[in-house]
């Protein structure tokens, strides 16, 4: 089975988010970039599914050369080879379009993405890519099994879950539960240096959206502390002041 995993290069989860140039650019100064945590889950499941030698796991990233350490990390974790589309990831549509162009000439049985990237949180690439390829997609999945040509998937819904089957090829967005992220071992790190990383140039595509600027949430006022022995006071404040109960 040939599996493609779409990966993003995102700020580490502990990053304090600030902006520059009148709040139009994300301030990357001093920021540590990592493999998107949800993509790590997708990659781990892809490696499990091809364990035993049947098939391959290709990772693809749309990004400039600065994303290569993250791509090498994915190779160290166990991907077979990698592709980088040499362009700044403008938005989800741009990324999905570039990946679709690649997949149209290099077909895969299964395409995985993380449920969302932790920077722009769009959850869009998976379904956009599937629509461009005219194949099924399942977003925010908690379980993924493959039997022959059919995927059995558990999808999260409000207050529960849905179990569905769908014929391959598909695009699926993985969440926690699908697999445990894998940590690269020394052999993986050594071999990652020599695994193939192909760089391709982007296709031209129309732009439909632009970020005008960013805002940070308004700071909250000083916390009101209620003594631990006067809990009724808290209930009263929640009722009469905050008006939430």
């Amino acid at each position: 089975m040939k599996i493609l995993v779409c990966i993003s290069n995102v700020p580490d989860t502990t990053t304090k988010i600030t902006f520059t140039d009148n709040n139009t650019q994300f301030n990357t100064s001093g920021v540590q970039f990592i493999l998107n945590p949800y993509d790590e889950i997708a990659l781990a499941r892809a490696i499990e599914l091809t364990d035993g030698g049947s098939g391959s796991v290709t990772v693809i990233n749309v990004g400039e050369v600065a994303t290569e350490p993250t791509i090498r990390k994915a190779l160290a974790i166990g991907a077979t080879d990698a592709v980088r589309v040499n362009a700044k990831a403008h938005d989800a549509w741009f990324v999905a379009y570039q990946v679709a162009q690649y997949v149209k000439s290099n077909p895969f049985d299964l395409i995985l993405t993380g449920r969302e990237s932790i920077d722009y949180n769009g959850s869009k690439v998976a379904a956009m890519l599937a629509e461009l390829l005219d194949i099924p997609s399942v977003s925010i999945i908690k379980k993924l099994d493959i039997d022959g040509n059919t995927a059995t998937v558990e999808r999260e819904i409000e207050g529960g879950k849905e179990v569905l089957t769908v014929p391959l090829p598909i695009v699926a967005g993985t969440a926690e539960g699908v697999a445990e992220p894998k940590i690269p071992n020394m052999r993986g790190i050594m071999s990652a240096r020599t695994k193939p990383l192909t760089v391709i140039e982007p296709a031209t595509v129309e732009t439909f959206s632009n970020v005008i600027r960013y805002e940070t949430p308004a700071p909250r006022g000083q916390v009101k502390l209620v003594p631990a022995d006067d809990v009724a006071k808290l209930v009263e404040l929640l009722h009469s002041e905050a008006r939430v109960i």
Partner: protein, 325 residues
């Protein structure tokens, strides 16, 4: 050109987040002095369809049939795109629910539309532009995104826009576009929905527990508090990682982002990753025995004290309040 809103249902009933999307779409339509058309897909009864008029739909396209009884994003996207074309609607609004996140991107591609996912406020439509404020960096920031395409898709975060009642005709019309068999290849085997629990992304009140609760056996009081308040349960990442609670309750940067009216955090220190997922809550209450816990810095109300003493007292105080109300 009218605005089209997709009105998601669960087991034939519209949810609060659906009415929020209708009210939000109505406000967008008012701003551009146009009509609002709603589209419902699945098995929704006449009484429920009538509610869409109450929240501002001038017309309701009702799509029924066995094939479309359950949500399949490919088929539903095809139906909604057909409706948009039929009505010449250039803005499509839907809820950023789990299903909405599978639909909006497909609609964007089908309609050659820019997609603003996770909107938290009405778009700015000044000067013929359309700029949407959406969450970014997992709740640590907002991005103002301009959609420059002729067609536009906007998905609204649950609990971020108030339901408004307005009288509109809400005339129901049957709509039955052709569906390609290839769009129906997904088979729904089972839907498991716990009806006795409040769903976390939609909840008005969320009660959340962290490592300070010491073990899964201590969740009884958290559950009792949640039941009493009609709240959904949530937890921090270490708690779900340890298997004390299911992953579906994990709130934070790599879990679910929530924006309830009231978020009560018990025994959670407030790591930056957790705060990211809850920062858009309207009111935050923190109960923690460590006065230096970072969560207090972003809380509205706090109690410094042992959760095992404070929570039972809080439960009885709420019982007293309810008895007197």
């Amino acid at each position: 050109m009218p605005v089209l809103v997709y009105t998601e249902n669960a087991d034939g009933k519209f949810k609060k987040s659906t009415f929020e999307a209708v009210s939000y779409a109505r406000a967008i339509a008012n701003e551009s002095k146009t009509n609002l058309v709603a589209i419902s897909i699945g098995d929704v009864g006449a009484a429920d369809l009538a509610l869409l008029g109450k929240y501002g739909a001038d017309k309701v396209l009702n799509v029924t049939g066995d094939k479309l009884k359950n949500f399949i994003n490919q088929a539903y996207a095809a139906v909604i795109a057909e409706a948009a074309k039929k009505e010449a609607a250039n803005i499509v609004v839907l809820s950023n629910s789990f299903s909405g996140r599978g639909l909006a991107p497909r609609l964007g591609v089908k309609l050659k539309a820019g997609v603003a996912d996770g909107a938290v406020a009405l778009p700015d439509q000044a000067d013929g532009k359309l700029i949407v404020k959406k969450t970014a960096f997992s709740g640590k920031a907002f991005a103002l995104v301009e959609l420059t395409s002729e067609n536009k898709v906007i998905s609204l975060i649950p609990n971020s826009y108030k339901v408004v009642e307005t009288e509109a005709a809400g005339t129901v019309e049957d709509f039955g576009p052709e569906i390609k068999p290839a769009d129906l290849s997904t088979i729904i085997k089972e839907i498991v929905r716990s009806t006795d629990k409040v769903s976390l992304p939609d909840a008005d009140i969320v009660v959340s527990g962290g490592r300070g609760l010491k073990g899964p056996e201590n969740w009884g009081m958290v559950e009792e508090l949640a039941d009493l308040l009609g709240a959904a349960l949530a937890c921090s990442k270490p708690v779900s990682d340890a298997g004390w609670r299911p992953h579906s309750e994990h709130v934070g940067q790599t879990g679910i982002a929530v924006s309830p009216n009231l978020y009560i955090a018990i025994g959670i220190s407030g790591a930056i990753q957790h705060l990211a997922g809850v920062s858009s809550s309207k009111t935050i209450v923190v109960i923690n025995k460590d006065a230096e816990a970072p969560f207090f810095k972003v809380a509205d109300y706090g109690i410094v004290g042992d959760a095992f003493e404070v929570v039972p007292k809080l439960i009885s105080a709420i019982k007293d309040y309810k008895a007197s109300a």
